[in-house]
């Protein structure tokens, strides 16, 4: 059914269609609307057979999810930003225990400085936590990938994070096609857990594992994620057969034929990029883009075959490994390690900074001319940076960086007004 609704609302409807049995959540922007809507669906009886639990923290949210999943209930939660950091211990625990929880992350920056806007630092902080991480480009994909996420999680008995850009997707009103219940039921069978807490068959779950077996347990986690490299496209194919839409999969490609420059990215920014790429193609520039839909497992082989003929690869990412550079780009470099293709890291959109077509056009043009440095910060205001560095060089008690910069910007704006 076609609806013009907010991304969060669309996700709530999609999750409800998956017949979750326990939903627990703690409010954090920009994830809040999803669980508000789910809470309403449960309370109003539209989503029956489901317990909705308001918890006191994200750590508790995922801990409740761990308990309910281990007791055999299909379980969902959502988080973002500081929230995923607060639940970090439980994030690793859920995957280590092999519990197929599905969690939405409304991607948002991490503080300090506190910032509620979109980037992907939060999901990236948990990239090695043993969860599958599926990134979506649009609200339609968000709907479709959540439905697939339950299938994938339960097939592997591993938790899945569905990562969607905060605000840009969660708060955007778009036309989406909400599947009907019959279709979803056909696609998603009821949850049959591999392990379950049951008085009829008492088992201990969560024993200490020493050096004699820890490596094997971890290896199997890795092995199962590598299995997902086959499972994810297969589930996407089945999804298409029932719903008629291409969603999910490991990667998506845009105008890669004969592309000399290929931009690799994650999430919703591909929408803006496609416009820029179309314009550049009209101008005769051989450029295309590739979106990573699965970041964990990392589709190295698919990347190699898609990027193999490119003259250069530009990885555009909304996160930063401080002291190193790009996170996604280093994963891409590893996938391309046997090739000599240069891989540029571009960090952009941090803390919700708008990524404009003009900036991307300038960036891509410089890239096609190989005028980019290895690590580039899109739209970095170098004057502001210089002013702060000078302040630090000139006095010991220079104060805190964030507040200094905000003051500088205030003064600059005031000056401009005059």
């Amino acid at each position: 059914m076609l609806k013009q609704i907010e991304g969060s609302h669309a996700v709530a409807e999609a999750v409800a269609l998956c017949r979750p049995e326990v939903i627990c959540a703690y409010p954090i922007t920009p994830q809040t609307h999803i669980v508000e809507d789910l809470g309403f669906l449960v309370k109003s009886g539209k989503l029956s057979g489901c317990e909705f639990i308001n918890v006191e923290s994200e750590f508790a949210a995922l801990s409740v999810a761990i308990g309910s999943s281990a007791a055999g209930a299909r379980t969902y939660t959502a988080t973002a930003s500081q929230g995923i950091l607060f639940m970090a211990e439980a994030v690793y625990n859920a995957s280590g225990l092999g519990l197929p929880i599905v969690m939405t992350v409304g991607n948002r920056a991490i503080g300090a400085p506190i910032n509620i806007w979109n980037d992907q630092s939060d999901s990236m902080s948990m990239r090695d936590a043993g969860w599958l991480q599926l990134f979506v480009e649009s609200n339609q994909q968000a709907i479709d990938v959540h439905i697939q996420a339950f299938r994938i999680a339960e097939a592997l008995s591993l938790p899945v994070m569905v990562c969607m850009d905060g605000f840009i997707l969660t708060h955007a009103y778009e036309r989406v096609d909400i599947p009907d219940q019959k279709q979803v039921d056909k696609f998603l069978p009821s949850f049959e857990p591999r392990q379950v807490l049951d008085p009829a068959n008492p088992k201990s779950i969560g024993a200490m594992v020493g050096p004699e077996a820890f490596t094997e347990v971890r290896y199997l986690e890795h092995h199962k994620q590598m299995q997902a490299l086959e499972l994810i496209p297969q589930v996407a194919k089945e999804f298409k057969a029932i719903f008629g839409r291409d969603s999910g999969g490991l990667i998506s490609e845009y105008r890669l034929d004969d592309a000399e420059t290929i931009v690799v990215t994650l999430g919703s920014v591909i929408g803006t990029m496609q416009e820029v790429i179309d314009r550049m193609r009209e101008d005769g520039v051989a450029i295309g883009a590739l979106t990573l839909r699965s970041f964990r497992p990392f589709p190295a082989a698919a990347l190699r075959s898609a990027l193999g003929k490119a003259k250069r690869v530009v990885v555009f990412e909304k996160c930063l490994a401080v002291g190193l550079g790009g996170i996604v780009s280093n994963n891409v470099r590893m996938a391309l390690s046997e090739l000599s293709t240069p891989v540029y890291s571009v960090i952009g959109g941090l803390g919700g900074r708008p990524i404009t077509q003009a900036s991307l056009h300038r960036l891509f043009t410089e890239a096609t001319q190989d005028r980019l440095e290895d690590l580039h910060f899109l739209d970095l205001n170098k004057d502001i940076v210089k002013r702060e560095l000078e302040r630090e060089a000139s006095m010991r008690r220079s104060g805190s960086i964030a507040e200094n910069i905000l003051s500088d910007i205030g003064i600059v704006d005031a000056a401009n007004t005059i």
């Binding site: 508790a60 308990g67 779950i205």
Partner: protein, 332 residues
């Protein structure tokens, strides 16, 4: 099955033994059909109060739940000594997730049971004092205020024993731990610190809160049974001496527990919906010195009379506050 004659005299504790009781009143452990939920062969130290407390508490809960019980366990001694896989001492479905989330995990299990219509399955969470009063406190309080259908049992041995005896917020004043060593003018743990979690639990207005002690196992079983007869959030804190951490003799576990309770240092009471409904009167009041001298963690207070006096003052205040004084056998 031949009739089992369990001798249950606790030498030197003055506790009534099973043989003196009517069969119906005997402890769960005295019956041949006890569940042995926490089975023999685990790796607890000699004289471990926690192992004993857990064994009685869980078997009593099992009987009350008609053997339909699931447990969530916080990280700690109890978790470690019961599950050296491939061995597990648990004969009930049991789960360990993290140090600080046992209450929340139990909430999740209870939610799953409710949604699946399995109301007959009851859920308990358990942990030591560190996992309860410190790192697990947020999840515990959340479980309380939502009145989730979970019985949380805290085995209180007054420090982090699993990591090598460090101070927790349940450690009493003057006690020596690895992080409150007896050096300087005011040795041991500071006075006027720590929190009383049973009283905080009561402030959540939950249906049932109780304190118990391993020296009085009948009382402990009765409290578990009472807690299991109610739905909603319930809390029982059991006083469990730790010979290793307290420097007491393994054979003195019951004695230390009894003398501590009889001194007034560990009031035993029950509360319903935030109000105390019963206290265990002290039968034969003793000075705090009697229990303290059995524990090396308090050895230094005998060289500091003012410290000993402070501890006695705490016991005296407890006796006044909880009205613990009364005639012998005057149990409420």
């Amino acid at each position: 099955m031949p009739n089992q004659h369990v001798k249950f005299y606790q030498t030197g504790t003055l506790t009534v033994g099973n043989r003196l009781l009517d069969e119906k009143m005997r402890t769960v452990q005295a019956t041949p059909d006890r569940s042995n939920s926490l089975d023999s062969g685990h790796r607890a130290c000699q004289g471990c109060g926690e192992a004993l407390g857990a064994r009685y508490a869980i078997d009593a809960a099992m009987r009350a739940a008609n053997n339909q019980l699931i447990a969530a366990n916080a990280t700690g001694c109890l978790e470690v000594f019961t599950t050296p896989y491939p061995e597990s001492a648990w004969r009930i479905p049991w789960m360990h997730s993290l140090f600080g989330n046992a209450a929340a995990v139990a909430t999740g299990i209870a939610a799953a049971m409710r949604v699946k219509g399995r109301d007959e399955v009851r859920v308990i969470a358990q942990g030591g004092d560190g996992g309860t009063t410190d790192i697990g406190f947020g999840c515990l309080s959340g479980m309380f205020e939502r009145n989730d259908d979970v019985l949380y049992i805290c085995y209180d041995n007054q420090a982090y024993m699993n990591t090598g005896v460090q101070r927790s917020s349940a450690t009493p004043g003057a006690a020596r731990t690895a992080t409150t060593m007896p050096v300087g003018e005011n040795p041991g743990a500071d006075f006027n610190q720590g929190k009383n979690v049973p009283l905080i639990a009561m402030a959540h207005n939950i249906p049932y809160v109780a304190t118990a002690s391993v020296h009085d196992l009948h009382d402990l079983e009765a409290k578990v049974q009472k807690a299991m007869a109610v739905r909603g959030a319930r809390y029982i804190q059991i006083f469990v001496p730790c010979p290793l951490g307290w420097g007491s003799k393994p054979q003195d576990t019951m004695k230390v527990a009894r003398l501590t309770v009889e001194s007034g240092l560990y009031p035993l009471f029950e509360a319903e919906y935030g109000e105390i409904v019963g206290v265990t009167k002290i039968r034969r009041r003793t000075d705090v010195a009697e229990c303290l001298k059995l524990q090396r963690r308090f050895a230094h207070v005998f060289k500091k009379p003012e410290q000993l006096a402070k501890i006695q003052a705490i016991a005296d205040a407890n006796i006044r506050k909880f009205r613990l004084a009364g005639s012998e056998g005057g149990q409420s």
